[in-house]
Symmetry: C2
Subunit: 112 residues, 2 copies
């Protein structure tokens, strides 16, 4: 449990994972949308999501072309997530993320 707890907090100990979790508090999202909002490469997002998933905080589902990631309700870390939300509420970057989120439409983002 000590190791488990350590791993859990490691998830929250990264700026971009905090941003990802904050976005998933809004709605389920696919990889390319997250990459667009964070302005980080797709493989980076994928790896973060993998790690978050390993701790049981999120799950994924297939949705046509895309893979949706979403928060698991009632996870052990729910309490922490609440704190995260309130800690970050007034942050500049977080606010900018939420603005960019409005423009994050997968059908437009992922065509190359």
């Amino acid at each position: 449990m000590l190791t488990t707890t350590e791993k859990l907090f490691k998830i929250f100990a990264d700026k971009n994972r905090l941003r990802i979790l904050n976005l998933l508090l809004q709605r389920k999202m696919c990889v390319c949308e997250l990459a667009f909002v964070l302005q980080v490469t797709q493989p980076s997002i994928s790896r973060h999501l993998k790690r978050i998933k390993e701790t049981g905080l999120i799950a994924d589902e297939q949705d046509g072309f895309w893979t949706n990631y979403f928060l698991i309700k009632n996870s052990k870390a729910g309490v922490i997530l609440k704190s995260v939300k309130s800690f970050l509420k007034n942050d500049k970057v977080i606010k900018a993320d939420l603005e960019r989120l409005k423009k994050a439409e997968r059908t437009k983002l992922c065509s190359k």
Copy 2:
């Protein structure tokens, strides 16, 4: 704030810092007592304490030969600390720490 939050969670993202915080939830402690309970070298403990202190979770006071470290009440991270406590409650290592804590008397520990 994003960076601050990231730093805060980094504090909880280490096994030995979790053990230290859990012990400080019991009582104020000096460096050599913590080193004794965790069975880790003194410089390692000192550095952990320094980092925890930088985030405003703990403070220190001089006590004769020793430096006592103690949790700051009403810190922003209080909520998290509560979760930590409940997460770790039943952990083997944590329980063993609490047992060893009973034998941690600075006057006996630190004489070489």
